[in-house]
Symmetry: C2
Subunit: 169 residues, 2 copies
DNA sequence: CTTAAATGGTTTCAATTGAAACTAACTATC
DNA sequence: GATAGTTAGTTTCAATTGAAACCATTTAAG
């Protein structure tokens, strides 16, 4: 069956690769997904157990805590979340009293979100924990490796953004 | 408010860090989640458009195609999926006719899954596409950087596994 | 044998997510 | 100042996911 590739009508630049040689566990998207899901799950459980908040809620708290009050739309840009995610996270945080909304009198569609007392307290406690987790995660890396990692992730993210936008089919 | 840290009763090894200096977009778990979600979304849309399969289904096809027929439980180990995910993906692929199930006569709880004709055809077509995407993603990296990346991901994944298992709270 | 425990896999239920539709408020144009 | 088009944010609906309970079968223990 030496002409299976022809019979199957391939047209990729990887036509020549024997499909049987493919290894899922060496496939970068799979590795990234696996690593990311392990990390996220661990962090998510921590936040949930300690503060009863989800990851999207954590992102809002992190942004509002470090950059100060801003609107949902501004958060959307900074946290790479879509407006639905932001809206839902804000609704929960508002209900649980961790953020406050102040409608902008100049444009009543907008409202400025800010941390409440309890929100600020969560921020103060959660940031050191988050940093501890990150430190644990990277504790097997040298300083140079950490620097390399940041650079690599930056490059990959740029490519990934290109891949996502504009039909790439 | 110079003793806020004391007032807030911190106890982490990152106590000294000013919480306001925290930057979400420099936080590794966030970066990983962002990159992974961009990559996954892009690939997911490709698979969906071309073959009408989801990412979990793709994983089964990839494993069965490269490693040959095996049971759900064996797939679970190789693809880092839990048994529910495998069961659901197998159910869909079975319904769409891309895999076949053969109950093990020696242990009727198990069944061996294998690619059908159409499943094999999808495998043959999808692997080159997947590799193309991966190549695009890493095309901004030198060979050395690619090698570094693999090594880094491996180290991080090992740490992440430790972080997930065994209460780390 | 008979019961208890373990294993392979499926189902169920609630919570989360994604995409599209929607509402309200504002801006620009005529 | 009416109308059309934008923008900010919310809601809705279906699909996906996670966790626990469940079923069927096999293995182990008495």
């Amino acid at each position: 069956m030496k002409s299976q590739a022809i019979a199957e009508g391939r047209k990729s630049s990887h036509d020549g690769i024997s499909a049987s040689a493919f290894a899922l566990d060496a496939f970068l998207p799979y590795r990234l997904a696996l690593l990311s899901s392990l990390v996220s799950r661990s962090i998510q459980k921590l936040y949930e157990a300690e503060f009863d908040i989800s990851i999207p809620e954590w992102r809002l708290i992190a942004i509002l805590g470090s950059d100060g009050p801003m609107t949902a739309n501004e958060i959307r840009g900074r946290a790479a979340m879509d407006k639905v995610q932001v809206s839902r996270a804000a609704a929960k945080l508002s209900k649980s009293g961790h953020i406050l909304r102040r409608t902008d009198p100049d444009d009543r569609r907008k409202s400025t979100l800010s941390l409440s007392e309890t929100g600020q307290s969560i921020y103060n406690h959660i940031v050191p924990m988050a940093l501890d987790r990150e430190a644990f995660l990277t504790s097997a890396l040298t300083e140079k490796e950490k620097a390399d990692l940041i650079k690599l992730l930056e490059k990959l993210t740029k490519r990934a953004e290109k891949m996502t936008s504009k039909s790439f089919l």
